[in-house]
């Protein structure tokens, strides 16, 4: 538990697991600047890919200080989320509907992005 933000860090979301494993592998004497660089790149990459999906719901996510993600809608409402596990419920709250990868409209929109 982080005393500053009150967030419980016990559970590492499975999509973040490879980052944690890499950190443990390198150990305390490991190349921490290399790890930090990789981690930032991973997070930026994830935000970019997630945005390709989120923009069909009028939402946008950005890396927030390298530890959280900031999710916003076009009305200026925002939520801070820890990981992808928390992102989807928050996105559903902001969008007012569940975000479903099987949704035909989303599939059409993503396919159209590819063709563009």
């Amino acid at each position: 538990m982080c005393v500053l933000c009150g967030r419980d860090f016990v559970g590492v979301h499975w999509t973040d697991r490879h980052v944690e494993d890499r950190a443990l592998l390198s150990g305390p004497s490991g190349d921490s600047s290399g790890y930090q660089r990789d981690r930032r790149r991973d997070r930026a990459h994830r935000a970019a890919l997630t945005n390709a999906v989120l923009r069909h719901y009028g939402l946008r996510v950005e890396d927030w200080g390298g530890s959280k993600y900031l999710l916003r809608d076009r009305k200026g409402r925002s939520e801070i989320v820890q990981d992808l596990g928390a992102l989807w419920p928050a996105a559903a709250r902001l969008a007012g509907r569940p975000l479903d990868p099987l949704d035909p409209a989303l599939r059409r929109a993503l396919s159209a992005d590819d063709d563009a």
Partner: protein, 340 residues
Amino acid sequence: MRRAVENGTTRRPLTVVTGFLGSGKTTLLSRVLSEPAMANTAVLVNEFGEVGLDHHLLRRVDERTVLLGGGCVCCTTREDLVVALLDLLDLNQRGEIPHLDRVVVETTGLADPAPILHTVFSDPVLQHHFSVDLVLATVDALNGNLHLDNNPESVKQVAAADKVVVTKTDVAERASVEGLLARLGAINPSAQTFEAALGEVGVEELFRPGHAGTRAAPAVLPAQNSLHDTAETHSVSLTFDGPVDWTAFGIWLSMLLHARGEEVLRVKGMLDVGGAGPVVVNGVQHTIHPPEHLDAWPDADHSSRIVLITKRIPPEDLTGSLRAFGGLLGARPSPLYTQP
């Protein structure tokens, strides 16, 4: 590498044995536990219904058997499972159980195994000391079809399993055993099936150390493509035409599980993410095993293979969705066929 990741501690494998009421879980366990190789195995039995009958049959486990009071392992007594496992760990570390090689959790017949996995993966202490290496399901050759027809729990158990043991094959007609095996393959193409007459089964194969469960290559049997069970359960086996972006796959799968968690019974496979080895993906409903990035492929086939078992979601929808995400994934999915 695995040890380094775990900071020098080895996690004890935890095996979940599930199966419908009367499908021979206890017979199988009592047979398996009599093997010398299984001597340092602790067994957690759930008392449900009849008074400890199952427990008394498991003679070998005597003091190491921790009875979980208060009903079903999954829903009401997950905390009990935590307490029982912590207790075992404590006894082990104090030297009262000098060797604890493995823990077997036997579920009740009606249990859904997913919450057990969730308990182990999410508990702050247990996740560092135990890893679920294998989910075994027993299916009774005489009544298996009936159970699968009438009880959604039974289908969930088969879908969650890494290995399925068909019991009582000695008293069933050969043709019906074959039919049942085909049906099990249709429900869960990623599971290995075994036959056990009177609880006789190859223990080494069932609990093969280091190769079982999540670390094993999923034995995808794609020969009968677009398999679907007579009920509403579907399974689809897929591959990709190139390396998959792991981050994008994580986005797709976490999104799918959030939207359709109840309807996704199982995800299992190995993904080529462009590294030296694949990523092993293994999920039972909402619960995803910590994905393992392997250093090398387990066999000569270096292509992605993944099995999705769903309830009510048509396989075409999953493939179509992955195809739409193809731009992000960096590869396109295609159904997995075996060469004729």
